[in-house]
Symmetry: C2
Subunit: 146 residues, 2 copies
DNA sequence: ACTTTACTTAAAGCCGACTTCAACTTGCAC
DNA sequence: GTGCAAGTTGAAGTCGGCTTTAAGTAAAGT
């Protein structure tokens, strides 16, 4: 019964390249034991960490933030389901915000195309071609970027 | 009546830094005339191009793809509302796909946290802590990244 | 006229997230 | 016990999207 995985095995199971796994280790996101010959051996629990990392990335979280989150896991014991659930819930808000932002963008875009007012592209920023604005300071910024 | 904008004015109105505007020009996303002294002067219509670029970026489109899209605009005349609407509609599918992807992720995450099965983090990839899998090739990949 | 602010360029730098390279060592199969 | 795939390292490279720098020119206010 092999309790540990080589870097190649972990890469294969997680879909993450070995070079990326070494990179994650350098950043302190995952940990590995070593054989007598200095090769990495991963506990099976690391597979879950890697999964967590990839999911968080899809949510739009940076590796730095992911590291901070993972630092919240207990070191002494293998993380439980509750531990993971607690961490995951932290991204939900972020995910919801991101979805809301994109939905708003979509709706604006739909409205824009449908009504011909070009709300996003034109109205928010400048006047239509045939109505030059005076020199007063027009609107300057777009809504928050994500 | 000033029909053109200096780079600083365009930057101010669009919320995009002058350096970024010069960069966009190098990539062929926007165009500028020149004064006798070689300074850029932008037609007001360029403001709309810049808006389009920023919106497309928020949708997740790369500058290269944006350039390709903008190449679809008529060169001879100032683009009309219909021209812009046609381009914008091209991103809608992309935007919808992205939203759908994130919603799926959110729902999986919600289910995961609610039911304790850790569907995303654990089940999709490996067995729970107390059930070691055999050596057979487990699942390897995550769902498509956006 | 003069001063200040805005603009010009090419080239280099930066950031995040990796990948690639080169030179070398381990570990497993036969 | 040998051959070869798989692993090791630090350093450098890549890519997208800009920003910064340096050295100089133009335009605008007074």
């Amino acid at each position: 019964m092999q309790q540990t995985l080589s870097i190649g095995e972990l890469a294969h199971r997680s879909g993450v390249a070995p070079s990326a796994l070494r990179y994650y280790e350098r950043l302190g996101l995952i940990r590995a034991g070593r054989t007598g010959g200095n090769q990495r051996r991963y506990d099976r629990a690391e597979l879950r960490r890697v999964s967590f990392i990839r999911i968080a990335q899809q949510v739009g979280v940076s590796l730095d933030e992911i590291r901070d989150a993972l630092d919240g896991l207990p070191e002494s014991r293998t993380p439980t389901k509750a531990d993971w659930a607690r961490l995951s819930s932290r991204w939900q808000t972020k995910l919801n915000d991101r979805i809301a932002f994109l939905e708003r963008l979509r709706d604006d875009l739909t409205g824009c195309i449908g009504c011909g007012c070009l709300s996003l592209i034109a109205c928010r920023l400048s006047n239509p071609d045939d109505e030059l604005s005076d020199d007063g300071p027009g609107p300057r910024r777009f809504p928050a970027l994500s």
